[in-house]
């Protein structure tokens, strides 16, 4: 087999695994958009915040120590113990649920019946607020996150492909794990929304707010529920991205990367988010692979958006989105 083809295949595989990571973020967007019609720009920052909190719990940091030190001249920094990962993850989940309750109580409740664009801007405000809170609470330096997931090159894939093609593919083990975890996440979300009472209520709200209210579903509870689930999805995404490249500010920028994924998949479709993520991941890697000699590298910065832009011109509602019907 010619080398270029092999390299292209490797790039495709890497793109697929990278796409899973994008899809993880996009999933959180879709959940909130379906249930409340809010385009949650803060999803990426929520992932950052969750990862920061997890690292903070693990290493026993004192929250707001920086601020307390500045205000009272103390020298606090750590509690002096390390929390085991199995305890730190539920604690972080609890924080994310608390966050969901606070968001519902202080923001969403007051913005009922506002235009979608106002809600969108409110989530941008929330993103900035959370970013500031996360930095003040846990400090802004780059932190390593280790929850015990394997890292480095996958030897199995390497050997297998070497036996097949005479060339070992480089695939990160972490990304294989991410793919597995994403699959479990999607499966459990599907089961939750299809077979549990709350899940059905969630779908009812997504379908029609007023009709759901009229049969006695509490909208506020459903919103807290959705934001909690989105928070947990954000935590998973935060763990994956954090283990891969450290917990730092750039983590929140993956939210921007999730936008074209959503556009491709459609805002309202969970399978769409996955397929969109894979298309963006593969497209980005292959485009960079083939275009690098011609236009230079770093096309990953904009390719996804351009792809989404071109795609939108032909299919404004995305691959799996509901058809947009407008009336005067």
């Amino acid at each position: 087999m010619p080398d270029t083809l092999l390299f292209a295949m490797e790039a495709t595989l890497n793109g697929l695994t990278a796409g899973v990571m994008y899809a993880l973020v996009a999933l959180g967007f879709v959940l909130i958009f379906k249930a409340s019609g809010i385009f949650n720009f803060a999803q990426g920052v929520m992932a950052l915040f969750a990862a920061l909190t997890l690292v903070g719990f693990q290493s026993g940091q004192i929250p707001f120590s920086h601020l307390i030190n500045a205000m009272f001249g103390t020298r606090l920094h750590h509690f002096g113990w390390n929390m085991p990962t199995l305890l730190a993850i539920p604690a972080t989940v609890a924080v994310m649920i608390l966050l969901a309750i606070l968001v519902e109580r202080f923001i969403l409740k007051h913005l009922i019946n506002q235009e979608p664009i106002i809600l969108f801007m409110a989530t941008i405000g929330l993103a900035y607020f959370l970013e500031g809170v996360g930095d003040i609470m846990w400090g802004a330096e780059v932190k390593a996150l280790d929850v015990g997931l394997p890292k480095g090159m996958s030897d199995t894939v390497d050997e297998l492909t070497f036996n097949w093609f005479g060339y070992g593919f480089f695939i990160d083990r972490l990304e294989l794990w991410a793919a597995g975890i994403a699959a479990i996440l999607v499966a459990s979300l599907t089961i939750f929304s299809q077979y549990t009472k709350q899940g059905r209520a969630l779908r009812a709200v997504a379908d029609d707010h007023q009709a759901a209210l009229s049969v006695g579903i509490s909208l506020r509870f459903i919103w807290v529920l959705t934001w909690s689930i989105a928070g947990i999805v954000a935590l998973v995404a935060g763990i994956m991205w954090g283990s891969k490249s450290g917990v730092q500010f750039s983590l929140s920028l993956i939210a921007l990367k999730a936008l074209p994924v959503l556009i491709l998949g459609g805002f309202t479709s969970i399978p769409g988010a996955i397929v969109g993520g894979l298309i963006i991941g593969v497209g980005e890697k292959l485009f960079d692979f083939f275009m690098q000699p011609i236009v230079g590298g770093a096309t990953e910065n904009w390719f996804a958006y351009m792809l989404a832009l071109v795609f939108l011109l032909f299919r404004p509602q995305g691959l799996f989105g509901e058809k947009i019907i407008e009336r005067v």
């Binding site: 979608p116 106002i118 801007m121 409110a122 607020f129 500031g132 556009i263 939108l312 011109l313």
Partner: protein, 358 residues
Amino acid sequence: MLYREAGDYKTSYVADSQTFPIKFDRYGYYFILGFAFLVMPLIINDYWANAIVVPFLIYTIAALGLNILIGYCGQLSLGTGGFMAVGAYASYKLMTGFPDFNIIFVIITAGLITAAVGVLFGLPSLRIKGFYLAVATLAAQFFLIWLFTRTGWFYNYSPTGMISAPTRTVLGYPVTGPRASAVSMYLICLCFLVACAWLARNLTRGTMGRQWMAIRDMDIAAEIIGVNPLMAKLSAFAVSSFFVGIAGALLFTVYLGAAEAGEAFGIDKSFLVLFMVIIGGLGSIFGAFAGAFFLIVGPVLLKLLLVDSLGWPTDLAAHLEIMIVGALILVFLILEPHGIAALWRTIKQKLRLWPFPY
């Protein structure tokens, strides 16, 4: 008592449709204009010019531009930083390519070039809207910045990848480059701002502005009553990008002097200008001024308070600033979705009735 129309008789249609129908407003406006042109140049110093006044003037122009697009025409754009970069790089290429070309025309031409680029990226708005359009404009933001950092021609193949503004003069006074004084920097930005604000005000209350607002309120209905969506949307993109391009050109040539696309015109600039428009008030010229003032002066005051008087570390103050900006946006959206401009309108309404409210 002073603030009312009673007794201020208008005898012509022109007088009746003026921007400031109330005498108090009109004199206030003349007073501010006179103060800005005659008194400020005498009292301004380097610190105030660099920290507050010049960035305020420049960002107000950008906010005016974005307000036309979002507030008047309803097309959400997150590509402001990219369009500012177009203005900056266009002015750089014009300044280095045609050294004899007057800087004022350079900046205006840079604005026109940005308008053309804006129309190009505005084309998708004919087919997509809302969040989808926001993502499409993100494509502009990232693609343009990538183009400027990757293509040597745009920065004249300088080894650092930076562009720096050579010295240019207006009436013999240097306004760009290291020899420019605070007063001349201030005055050129002020002239551009006044011209832009005048243009924006008159465009938005004319036929064009009404078409934009019709499109914003409901585009299908607007089309049915005879507004051409192609012309309305593209003209909004053109005018908006023209202003944003002028702001970018001024930011680079007059204020920064040297810039690198990714750093000076990143996505954070797009959000900064968007926040100015939201906090100031969508669909209001005064809102652009108020929002820019708020977001330029606020951080400076916060830094003065926290770092200089309380002695807190600067990074903590920076994080607190982000947090406060975010919280302010939330508070404004919840309490007053139409921004400072709406607060101002309420105050004016109250003032009219004072001291005898019904």
